[in-house]
Chain length 277, copies 2
């Protein structure tokens, strides 16, 4: 639809063209807008807007809204397009969402290559699990902790380097340390991994394959390469990490069987109104 408008652009009268331009610039706003609103927004009259609709092959203004939503909700692919300062806010929003979707699709494609079973095996026997990450990864860590503890395994979150190192220093054989780091570049992470594995604990790393941390880890989940340099680009790879941890969580719940799912149910019930009274 938007392509058709572009196509018709040359043979439009000046005011019709203003309508076309506005619609192309604010497609989201145009959807569900009233005829009068579009007209005033384009600085023209209502009949002109209707004439525009007819000229691009539509039966009337009403159909415009429908065709437009179609065009907006079914874009060909979710390939990554960088967000730039010139993007209208609705364009930008869609691009960000597309990047996130693509990120998850990538993750799904690589899922079969991930050592989920190995991770689940170790976590299943764990005396305790600690999730460690700095900055944005810290949020992923605490989110994961919040999820996994409901399986009945003691969990904790470590969001600064001293804590991580201390945990590694006192780790025991059945402890699991999950290290989250996009780049794997913090030297303390590799150090913590070495200390922890040295004490017999399992270290699960979600990080860049090429890093020192990756080399030290017991179980390695290769993180997505962050290809973009734009400051606008969102943290879509973090979303993929969350989804991955979600998946591991469910796999772990299944592996631990009925006991774990009962605990999940109980913790879920605790949030229902009237519980405990």
């Amino acid at each position: 639809m938007l392509a058709e408008i572009n196509l018709a652009l040359p043979n439009l009268s000046p005011s019709e063209r203003r309508v076309a331009d506005w619609i192309l610039a604010h497609p989201k706003e145009a959807v569900g807008a009233k005829l009068a609103h579009v007209a005033s927004e384009c600085g023209t009259s209502e009949p002109t807007v209707i004439r525009f609709c007819r000229r691009v092959g539509l039966s009337g203004f009403r159909e415009l809204g429908i065709r437009l939503t179609e065009a907006l909700s079914r874009p060909a692919s979710y390939v990554h397009r960088d967000v730039g300062p010139d993007d209208s806010s609705s364009d930008a929003v869609i691009k960000v969402m597309d990047a996130s979707i693509q990120s998850l699709l990538d993750m799904r494609a690589r899922l079969s290559a991930m050592p989920v079973d190995e991770a689940v095996r170790r976590m299943s026997k764990a005396r305790q699990i600690a999730f460690a990450g700095l900055g944005a990864s810290g949020h992923v860590a605490s989110d994961a902790c919040h999820k996994f503890f409901r399986l009945g395994i003691p969990c904790s979150t470590l969001t600064d380097t001293p804590m991580i190192l201390q945990f590694a220093a006192i780790a025991e054989a059945n402890d699991v340390l999950v290290l989250l780091s996009h780049t794997g570049r913090w030297p303390e992470f590799a150090k913590a991994a070495r200390i922890a594995t040295g004490r017999g604990a399992s270290v699960i790393a979600i990080t860049n394959v090429a890093s020192d941390l990756a080399a030290e880890a017991t179980v390695l989940f290769p993180a997505q390469v962050i290809e973009d340099t734009s400051v606008f680009t969102p943290m879509s790879s973090r979303l993929a990490q969350l989804a991955l941890l979600d998946a591991i969580h469910v796999a772990l719940a299944l592996a631990r069987g009925a006991a774990a799912s009962d605990r999940l149910r109980l913790s879920k019930n605790a949030l229902q109104p009237g519980f405990g009274s």
Copy 2:
């Protein structure tokens, strides 16, 4: 959308239900149909059709056509299949990932209906922004806070009800309170929203449309309906929320222009090795 109708099916009155059935059976015909046509086709009256629309969370009959075209034009892949105890771990992992992807695809399709611009406008002028959420939503809140503060707007996270209420109580006209709650069922949230709006602050809610909280909010982002009851099913709707906040964040950065993107760049540089030395 169709899923939402299905979900609402049980709590509909008889004639509303006839409308729902007919729409589910003839979705294509329903798109672009006149109110009178739908009414006669369902053997009921026009107001009943409108009441039906309202009940499934729409603003009116007009919006139904839009939402319906969205639902029809979006590719129906990655359909949700419940994870069961018999699933092998790799099956489960893929199912969870698919659910997450679907969740984001849904969000993308509904993005055009979201009041992103309105939210950005209010946030852009904000003296401060507070993100509030309990439990899992608390993580989303702190994650959002962590993202938004880099734009140069003072941000904070509120993760318990006393804090939320206190914030609302002292909120000022240009303050923005972002409330995250899947169900919108906590009465304190609606209360906080009422207090804050009463004091002239903006309340942006990401929650269930039918909730009290939704009614009190200044700007409402309808949350995805959580259709599944399985304890295994992951928190994919939370992922969608994160992605949504990401998108809003980028839109806000664009709206605030060069100053904001500079700040983003600076905060990013601060993480580079060698910075400050």
